[in-house]
């Protein structure tokens, strides 16, 4: 099990990027994708799923062919369980079938992702010589197992009719745009689309390519550039002041957002070109004014998954305040653990759980106790303040998330009192073999790109975007394309969320 933070370090790899990974930011994908699009639409409508399934399995097998077996196991088990649930009426048997699906999916997840973590923890607690296994974490296992678990539960609850067509179900699990890093789709949102994959459409294609370009911009211009700074500072925190660590933490906030949402945007765009709509996974999360708001905008498909399949079954909002707070804490601890087998992720989950409970509590108090004028009149100021404060809390959470282990967290926090903000810029521009001017240029490109991204996301999500003249829009897209070509960081890095 390769540790999360060991894998996100951009590193020169042996061989061209296409030799090891077929991922969205590899040049190989730019050859793979048009071929898949052309083949998909060359086939008659009823056979398009065949091309997409073959392409999806190839996409996954490119990484490690033997782990395609795991995907097939998960697919076969949940297809079979779904079909059996469709005909089984006895409640006890239905429960057993659902349990079988959960055991297989969560068992695979536990074995590959958590076995070592729990073995190490048990060793530390008991002193027993528990064997440790080094397993390579199958890419995307947390995403596709959660998707198939969701399908099983929906069929069990009779919210969704089981899919009869094995090929289409396999495509639901393996559809390559979202296979390895989401969004985690629901059966009702995706499966019906595979029954009738629309023909190639110019406007859809243009829109999809636009999303892909936007995602690529966020990944290769912002995330990978920010990573260069973050990795140096987090790699040796004792060499830097607290203020530099703060700068690196802010940069990591943008790195992880642009990395993950960039992936989601490319996934959404690629699927759209292929005639399939995926849900949006992010909605400008750093514009959130409360922590609850943040979790409505960040990794939406996972948040709603936990709400539907964990929070609501635990009682949801219909229970006492203390029980509700406990449910929130459980959900966030599980969410933290979902991200990785490490105590830092558990801590991160607990931190967010506590903040969301506090946020809910403050909202409750404000509603009951504050006079009405304080809620209405200065709304804009309160919102701006809320956005600023929420971002600070979220950014601090990223420090926990990015740290290698708890000792690393302590090492980072220990530097905080050693801060001389005036010399931070000097530290940031003298952090390694690259000359100061080069790092300065990178920093300017990074900040400018973040501003472009924020303005762009505001425009993309605005209902008034269609009022912008087409020529201006196309000129903006052309400029963005050139900006990506000129400022892309080519480190052969993968996406951070692949490790989850």
């Amino acid at each position: 099990l390769t540790h999360a933070r060991e894998r996100d370090e951009p590193r020169a790899r042996a061989g061209p990027c296409w030799a090891t990974y077929l991922i969205f930011n590899s040049l190989a994908f730019f050859a793979f994708f048009p071929i898949v699009v052309a083949l998909t639409f060359a086939f008659p409508e009823r056979l398009r799923w065949v091309v997409l399934l073959a392409a999806s399995w190839l996409f996954y097998a490119w990484w490690r062919v033997e782990y395609l077996g795991l995907l097939l196991v998960s697919t076969t088990v949940d297809y079979t369980v779904g079909r059996l649930l469709g005909v089984e009426e006895r409640p006890g048997r239905r429960k057993l079938l659902l349990a079988a699906s959960l055991v297989v999916n969560l068992g695979m997840l536990f074995f590959f992702k958590y076995l070592r973590f729990f073995s190490v923890t048990a060793r530390a607690l008991t002193g027993a010589e528990i064997p440790l296994y080094d397993l390579v974490l199958p890419v995307g296992i947390s995403f596709y197992t959660f998707q198939t678990i969701g399908y099983g539960i929906d069929v069990y609850r009779r919210k969704y009719e089981p899919e009869r067509h094995f090929g289409r179900f396999a495509l639901f699990v393996a559809f390559f745009p979202h296979l390895v890093a989401g969004p985690i789709m629901r059966a009702q949102g995706l499966l019906p689309q595979f029954r009738r994959i629309a023909s190639c459409d110019f406007d859809r294609t243009v829109s999809g390519l636009g999303w892909m370009l936007w995602g690529l911009f966020k990944k290769v211009v912002i995330a990978d550039r920010a990573a260069a700074f973050v990795n140096v500072v987090y790699g040796a925190p004792d060499r830097f002041q607290g203020s530099t660590i703060v700068v690196a933490t802010y940069l990591f906030a943008f790195q992880i957002y642009c990395d993950f949402s960039g992936y989601s945007d490319i996934a959404l765009g690629a699927a759209r070109v292929l005639g399939v709509d995926l849900m949006r996974n992010f909605d400008r999360p750093y514009a959130s004014s409360t922590m609850v708001d943040f979790w409505r905008r960040w990794h939406i498909s996972l948040s709603t998954w936990f709400v539907d399949y964990v929070y609501v079954p635990l009682g949801g909002n219909r229970v006492s305040w203390s029980r509700r707070a406990a449910n929130v804490a459980i959900v966030f601890l599980l969410s933290g653990l979902w991200h990785g087998a490490s105590w830092t992720f558990v801590l991160w989950g607990a931190y967010h759980g506590a903040l969301v409970v506090a946020s809910l509590g403050l909202g409750y108090v404000a509603k009951r106790l504050l006079p009405s004028f304080a809620r209405g009149a200065p709304a804009a100021v309160a919102r701006a303040l809320g956005v600023a404060v929420t971002f600070q809390f979220v950014a601090f959470g990223w420090l926990l998330f990015r740290a290698k282990d708890l000792d690393h967290v302590r090492a980072l926090l220990a530097r905080f009192p050693i801060s001389y903000p005036v010399s931070t810029l000097h530290e940031v521009t003298h952090m390694g073999p690259a000359p100061a001017a080069a790092l300065g240029v990178d920093l300017v490109v990074l900040v400018a790109s973040i501003v472009v991204m924020e303005v762009g996301e505001l425009a993309i999500t605005s209902s008034k975007r269609e009022r912008i003249p087409r020529a201006v829009r196309w000129a903006a897209w052309a400029t963005l394309s050139v900006w990506v070509v000129l400022t892309a960081v080519q480190t052969h890095s993968t996406f951070l969320y692949f490790q989850f």
């Binding site: 061209p16 052309a478 000129l486």
Partner: protein, 322 residues
């Protein structure tokens, strides 16, 4: 349909126009000692680079037939002394460049062998170049040689968009005008002639470090090694692969050497070429005979070249000039 096609074409033309305008502007804006374009494309290398490439390739451009051409990394241009070969009556040209990988050599061979028409090509192989991407040498050669299509092909072969953009800028005359550039002197070495640089120093102490440098194998570079060999043979020249000796402390820090050696030997067998690995057969003094962790000093070059010339002669590669 026609309207949509026109829109796509219009968008493409707009992209190209903006790209060229941006490249032209970025090539003219200087920040510190490099242009903005060099910063953006990662091509931050002064003319001449760190390997006297400007001087070396100007010499190569001016040369006609030679008996021997050397290709390879910095080990090539620092490790083969043309004076030792000239003393035996052989003319030579050294086309080594820093961190030159087989990918770079392949394009250089296509570009210079028809002009230099050697009878023998010596291809020096430093282990790390077999795991490299060829980017460093590509940038060096783009900046320091006149533009040719081989420059563009090499940039494309690295799969690096920055390298491609810089090659485009060079091709359009927007960046790195090697004709106007001057080679700066590099402390600790002197350019002798025919592409050879001689180290003026020798090292004082061994490196004692627990840090390990893993050596990797890039299958693409092995393929280029075989393709380069075929390209050399197409010109009628013979070819031999060589690795020069390395000091004991380098071998201690570099891990995976055995795998790289085995891969090179297997590749040599596939294309029936002689691969002489002096790292395994010639022991040199790790201080006296080296200028740094892996480059030979003047005394090391004399010993290595002596052994190499002897083996070339025995194997029949050095045929007396007519």
């Amino acid at each position: 349909m026609t309207k949509k096609l026109a829109r796509v074409l219009g968008f493409g033309v707009l992209c190209v126009a903006i790209y060229l305008a941006a490249v032209a502007v970025a090539a003219r804006v200087n920040i510190d000692e490099f242009s903005l374009l060099q910063h953006l494309t990662g091509s931050r290398l002064e003319p001449g680079g760190r390997s006297q490439s400007l001087r070396r390739f100007r010499d190569a451009e001016a040369r006609g037939h030679v008996d021997i051409v050397f290709f390879g990394s910095s080990h090539a241009y620092s490790g083969f002394d043309p004076r030792l070969f000239a003393a035996l009556g052989y003319t030579s040209m050294n086309l080594g460049s820093m961190n030159q990988t087989p990918l770079n050599t392949y394009e250089l061979a296509g570009r210079y062998l028809p002009k230099l028409t050697p009878r023998l090509v010596v291809l020096e192989i430093f282990y790390p170049t077999i795991g490299g991407d060829g980017l460093e040498s590509c940038r060096d050669l783009t900046i320091n040689t006149p533009f040719s299509w081989s420059t563009m092909r090499m940039a494309v072969a690295t799969w690096n968009i920055g390298a491609m953009t810089f090659a485009v800028a060079k091709g359009l005359g927007l960046a790195a005008d090697d004709a106007k550039a001057t080679q700066r002197e590099i402390p600790g070495e002197v350019y002798v002639s025919d592409g050879h640089c001689q180290a003026l120093t020798r090292r004082r102490a061994l490196v004692i470090s627990d840090e390990r440098v893993p050596l990797e194998i890039n299958p693409e570079q092995l393929r280029y090694l075989e393709r380069t060999t075929a390209r050399v043979r197409e010109t009628g020249a013979r070819i031999v692969w060589v690795t020069h000796p390395l000091p004991v402390d380098y071998k201690r820090v570099a891990t995976g050497r055995a795998e790289v050696e085995a891969a090179l030997e297997a590749a040599a067998r596939r294309v029936s070429v002689d691969y002489w690995n002096y790292d395994a057969t010639l022991a040199l003094d790790p201080l006296e005979d080296f200028a740094d962790l892996h480059h030979l000093s003047a005394s090391g070059v004399a010993k290595f070249d002596g052994a190499f010339i002897t083996q070339l002669t025995r194997a029949g590669y050095l045929v007396p000039p007519p």
